[in-house]
C-alpha cells in the first residue's frame, strides 16, 4: 500500500482536470493543493516533532507580501522576490526559534502566536509599502519570460508542487533526521541520550516548515493576483492547525485529507462569516476531544498495523 501511494497520487492529480467542469472548481482544487503543502510543512512541526505553531500564517504572509512588495516597489524579478521572502522567513524563524524552543507547551504556543500577530500588525501598518488594510495587487509570476496565468496553467504548477512536497516529506520522515524528530516527540529524554540535540532539531524543523509556508505564500499571491493582510491573521493560523488536527497528526496523507476537507468547508459556508468561525471552533473541539489523532491515523489504526 505504501509503495502505491505516490503513483496513485500522481495519477489522481493527472486525471483530476478531466473531472473539473469550470474555473470555480479549478480554483477550489488549487486552493486545496496550496493548503495541503503548507499543512504538510506544519504537520512536520506539530504532528511529527510534537511542537506547536499558532502563528504560521505570519510566515505565509511574509512570502505573500515579499512577492507583492519587492517587484512592485523595487522592481525585483518575482522569483528573486520569492527567494528573498523565503530566506527572510527562514532567518526570522531561526532567530526566534532558539529562545522559543527552550520553552514548552503553552509558552511555545504563545510565543508563536505572538510572532504571527506581530507580523500581521506590521503588514497592516506599513501601508506605504503594503497597501495597508486594503491590500495590494501582485504582479504575475514569470519563469524564463513565460508568464503563468489562468487556472489551468496554475493547476499544473501546484499539482507538481504538491507531488514534490509529498515525496520530500515522506523521504524525510523515513530518514535519520525524521526518526530523530519522531523520537524527540516520543520522549525528549530518550532522544537526548542517543545524541539528538533537541534545540537544533526543533529549530531546524521550525525553520523548514516556515520556509515551506513562505514559498506557498509567494506562489499563492501570484496566483490570486492580490494580497490582503488577513492572510497573515491569527484565524488563518488556526485554520491551518485545524487542518493538521483533523487530517491527522504525523500523517503525510492526513495532511492532504485535512487540507481538502477544510478548504471545501468555508466554501459551503460562504454566506456567513460567523458560521465559519463557529464551524472551525466546533471542529477543533470535537476532533481534539474524540479523535485527537485525526482522521487518517485513526482509520489506519482500525485496520491494524505494526510496522
Amino acid at each position: 500500500m505504501k509503495r502505491l501511494a505516490m503513483p496513485l497520487l500522481a495519477l489522481i492529480l493527472l486525471l483530476l482536470p478531466l473531472l473539473l467542469p469550470n474555473s470555480y472548481y479549478y480554483d477550489l482544487v488549487i486552493r486545496m493543493a496550496i493548503n495541503a503543502v503548507i499543512v504538510l510543512g506544519l504537520n512536520l512541526l506539530i504532528g511529527f516533532a510534537g511542537q506547536i505553531s499558532l502563528g504560521h500564517a505570519g510566515f505565509f504572509g511574509i512570502g505573500a507580501y515579499a512577492s507583492a512588495v519587492l517587484p512592485t516597489h523595487f522592481g525585483w524579478h518575482p522569483l528573486a522576490a520569492m527567494a528573498a521572502g523565503a530566506l527572510a522567513t527562514a532567518l526570522l524563524a531561526a532567530l526566534v526559534a532558539k529562545p522559543i524552543f527552550r520553552l514548552h507547551g503553552h509558552y511555545l504556543a504563545m510565543a508563536t502566536l505572538g510572532l504571527g500577530i506581530i507580523i500581521a500588525i506590521v503588514i497592516r501598518n506599513e501601508g506605504m509599502y503594503t497597501g495597508g488594510p486594503d491590500g495590494m495587487p501582485v504582479p504575475p509570476l514569470e519563469i524564463f519570460g513565460y508568464e503563468i496565468s489562468g487556472e489551468r496553467n496554475w493547476y499544473w504548477v501546484f499539482a507538481a508542487n504538491l507531488l514534490l512536497s509529498v515525496w520530500l516529506c515522506r523521504n524525510l520522515m523515513d530518514s535519520p533526521f525524521g526518526r530523530a524528530l519522531r523520537a524527540l516527540h516520543g520522549s525528549e529524554v530518550a532522544a537526548q541520550v542517543v545524541g539528538v540535540d533537541l534545540a537544533r532539531y526543533k529549530m531546524a524543523i521550525f525553520v523548514f516548515s516556515a520556509f515551506f509556508a513562505s514559498i506557498m505564500g509567494s506562489l499563492s499571491a501570484h496566483y490570486i493576483g492580490f494580497v490582503t493582510p488577513n492572510v497573515a491573521d491569527f484565524f488563518h493560523s488556526i485554520e491551518l492547525v485545524t487542518m493538521v488536527v483533523v487530517g491527522g497528526m504525523a500523517s503525510v496523507f492526513g495532511s492532504l485529507v485535512g487540507a481538502v476537507l477544510l478548504t471545501a468547508l468555508p466554501q459551503a459556508l460562504v454566506s456567513f462569516d460567523g458560521w465559519e468561525t463557529v464551524a472551525f471552533g466546533a471542529i477543533l473541539m470535537l476532533f481534539m476531544i474524540f479523535l485527537p489523532r485525526g482522521l487518517v491515523p485513526t482509520l489506519a489504526a482500525r485496520f491494524g498495523r505494526g510496522e
Binding site: L103, A109, I121, F234, F272, W275, T277, A279, G281, L284
Partner: protein
C-alpha cells in the same frame, strides 16, 4: 508631565482589565494546568451581555448580575463539555480545545449580536477629573476601585475560606487533594466559573471606556495572558502586577513611540520576558523528574 500622567492613567486603567484577565488565566492554570484561550471571550461576554440587557430595558443591578452570572455559566459549560471529556490530553491538545471553544463563542456572538460596536454609559457620568494637568475619566476610578476590591476579595477567599483552600490544595497536588476528600471536579468547575466571572467583570468595567464588540475578546485575552506570563504564570500577585505593567508599558509606548504599533507591544513584551525571564517576575522554578 501632564502627558505622562495621561498615558499613565489610561495605561493603569486598561492594565486593571488585563490584571483581571490574568487572574482568570492564573486561576485556571493553577487548578488544571490548562491555558484557557477562551478567557478573552469571557471579557467580551461580560460587556456584550450587559449591553444586551441594558438595551432591553432591564434595571442596572439585574443586568449587572446577569452579565456576571451568564459568562460564569459559559465557563462551567466549557469545563464540563470541553475540558472534562478530554481528560489526560497533553497541554497542546488542551490549548487547541480552548481555542476551539473561543472560536465557538465568538462565532455564536457574531451571528446573534452582529458585528457592530456598542458602548455603555459610564457608571458615574462623563465629566473628567483633572489631576496634575491630565484628565481622568471617572470610569477609570471605577475600574481601578472595583479591581482592587476584587483582588482583596480573592485574597480573602483563597486564604480564609475552606473552598479557597481546597482550590489551592488541588493546584498543588490533585491526587493528594482527592485523598483528603476534596472533590476535584467541583474545584475545577468553581475555578472556571470564577475565572469567567473575573473576565466578565473586567469587560463590564471597561466597556464604557473602550466599547465592546464580538471580537474584542481575542486581543484582550491574549494581552491578559501576556500579563499573566510577565507576572509569573501561577502567581496571583504576579497576575495583578503583570496586568498593570503591561497596560502601562503599552500606553507609554503608544504615547511616546508609535500608536500604530500599540497592539504589538504586549507581544514584543512577551518575547522579551520569554527570552530573558521565562518564569516571569514572580514565577516558581520547576524541575522535571526523570
Amino acid at each position: 508631565m501632564a502627558q505622562f500622567l495621561q498615558f499613565l492613567f489610561s495605561g493603569v486603567t486598561v492594565g486593571a482589565g488585563y490584571a483581571l484577565a490574568a487572574l482568570g488565566f492564573t486561576l485556571i492554570y493553577n487548578a488544571s494546568n490548562v491555558i484557557n484561550f477562551a478567557q478573552g471571550e469571557f471579557i467580551m461576554l461580560g460587556g456584550v451581555v450587559m449591553v444586551i440587557f441594558i438595551h432591553a430595558g432591564l434595571p442596572l443591578p439585574v443586568a449587572l448580575a446577569l452579565a456576571i452570572v451568564l459568562p460564569a455559566g459559559v465557563g462551567i459549560l466549557i469545563e464540563k463539555l470541553a475540558i472534562q471529556p478530554a481528560k489526560g490530553a497533553d497541554v497542546v491538545s488542551l490549548i487547541i480545545i480552548t481555542i476551539g471553544a473561543s472560536l465557538l463563542i465568538r462565532g455564536l456572538v457574531q451571528i446573534w449580536f452582529g458585528k457592530g460596536t456598542h458602548g455603555l454609559e459610564p457608571f458615574s457620568g462623563h465629566a473628567p477629573i483633572s489631576v496634575g494637568g491630565a484628565s481622568l475619566q471617572p470610569q477609570s476610578l471605577w475600574v481601578l476601585g472595583v479591581t482592587a476590591l476584587v483582588v482583596v476579595a480573592l485574597w480573602l477567599f483563597f486564604s480564609r475560606t475552606v473552598i479557597g483552600k481546597a482550590i489551592r490544595a488541588t493546584s498543588c497536588n490533585p491526587l493528594a487533594a482527592q485523598l483528603v476528600g476534596i472533590d476535584i471536579q467541583r474545584v475545577l468547575l468553581i475555578s472556571y466559573a470564577l475565572s469567567a466571572a473575573l473576565g466578565a467583570v473586567g469587560g463590564i468595567l471597561l466597556t464604557p471606556l473602550t466599547m465592546t464588540s464580538y471580537d474584542v475578546g481575542i486581543m484582550l485575552g491574549l494581552k491578559g495572558f501576556v500579563a499573566a506570563v510577565v507576572g509569573g504564570l501561577g502567581s496571583g500577585l504576579g497576575a495583578v502586577i503583570g496586568g498593570l505593567l503591561v497596560g502601562v508599558i503599552e500606553a507609554m509606548s503608544a504615547g511616546y513611540l508609535s500608536s500604530a504599533y500599540k497592539d504589538a507591544v504586549p507581544f514584543v513584551l512577551i518575547f522579551v520576558i520569554l527570552f530573558f525571564m521565562p518564569r516571569g517576575l514572580m514565577g516558581a522554578k520547576v524541575t522535571e523528574r526523570v
